[in-house]
Amino acid sequence: MNPKTEVDSPARIGNSNQFGRGFLSTMSLLTFVVLVAIVSVEHSRQSLATAFDEGYGRAWTIFPWIVAGGRTIANGLRAFSGEPLNIPSNTAQLTALASLLLGFVICPTVYLFRWRDRHLRNVATSTHEHLTLPGLFFNYFTIVTLFLCIAIVPVATFGEFVRSSIRSAQAVQTNKDNMINDLDAIVVDLQQYRILPKSLGGGDGSCIGYNLAPGFAQTRNGVYSITVEKEKAVIVGRSLLFPSSSIKVELDAKGLELRQAKAGMVHGGPWHWMYEGKFL
């Protein structure tokens, strides 16, 4: 038997101790420490969560970029609301760095070096090896590495799904805002027509006879149509980007006096807005 390339067979080991020196006691001690730490952290999680929320959001995570993305969005909303940005504390940043180093540098490195070592020694099976402390840590690094390899695919897929959803929602909102601006411009044009005398091409106090100019009937955002009565107008805009989505605005006599769409969009105001499709 070559001691460099071969290990004890079960027959050779027989009933002898399969555990390396100090393995059981160290493993028990580690287990006790881990259990006490986890149980105590779990039971004080409220105070921990509060403390870390101030800085980063969570105590630690193996995917800190997800937390960072959430923090960036939250900071964007805070900036939009005029509130000061929530900057992660140095401790939180170091924790994130430690998570990255542990998960994506140390664990895979140890795992791959150990795997290469075993491959060179031609150790085909681990059944007959003694359970040792280095093996204990190697197993731990292996689990972390394999977990990351498995988890990274759904995490990346879910991330891309979220990004795609956000882009789609932003596109819908942008199109909706642009169509509201178009409708506002149409109403202003209608109001001009209504107040102008007939000698100047207006309606002389009536909306009847108003037609949409080509620049208003179709824009980059949507296609618009209008139905008018003397003191009432109904404008319908259908989105070009999202054909199933449309906006309908009804104006009565009071609404025709208002100059700004924003004033007319007040709930219960004289401009009655109705949305369909993705604009709901």
């Binding site: 399969q18 059981l24 986890i38 149980v39 952290v41 630690w60 995570t61 193996i62 059944t127 689990i143």
Partner: protein
């Protein structure tokens, strides 16, 4: 590995492998889960089936590993250790707020314990059987 050995392994419990099984569950299942998942109540799991899946998969994997590492058939030890481990998780880890009422009822306690025992026993049994098969076929080096 014959039927006599298998029977012997079922009636005599080797405390070292019981300890190794329990420690393996804590170090290879609980600790990585705790570090890799966020430190939320019950590791961030919010639904009962995710907790059950987390326990069953972890217990099955660790029990299989223990049965593979032991030179003798080791089936009962991982099963007992898994039952203790499940009991520890249920008693000491705070339940998620969305957990149903029956989760906190004492009469529900045997369900996860029996599930853990059966899972570990089955997984370790499969491990022992596969190892015996490898030995029989001469694939074990």
């Amino acid at each position: 590995m014959n039927g006599g050995n298998m029977y012997g392994s079922l009636v005599s419990i080797r405390w070292q492998w019981l300890l190794v099984s329990f420690c393996s569950l804590v170090l290879y299942h609980l600790l990585p889960s705790y570090i890799l998942l966020s430190p939320q109540p019950f590791l961030g799991f919010r639904r009962m089936w995710t907790i059950a899946a987390w326990l069953v998969v972890g217990i099955a994997a660790v029990s299989y590993y223990v049965s593979q590492r032991s030179s003798k058939p080791t089936i009962v030890e991982p099963a007992i250790a898994s039952t203790l481990y499940s009991l520890l998780m249920i008693v000491y880890l705070p339940a998620p707020e969305s957990a149903p009422v029956y989760y906190r009822h004492l009469s529900f306690l045997p369900v996860p314990l029996i599930l853990s025992f059966v899972t570990a026993f089955t997984s370790a049994g499969i491990g022992v059987w596969l190892k015996a098969r490898k030995t029989t076929l001469g694939l074990d080096t």
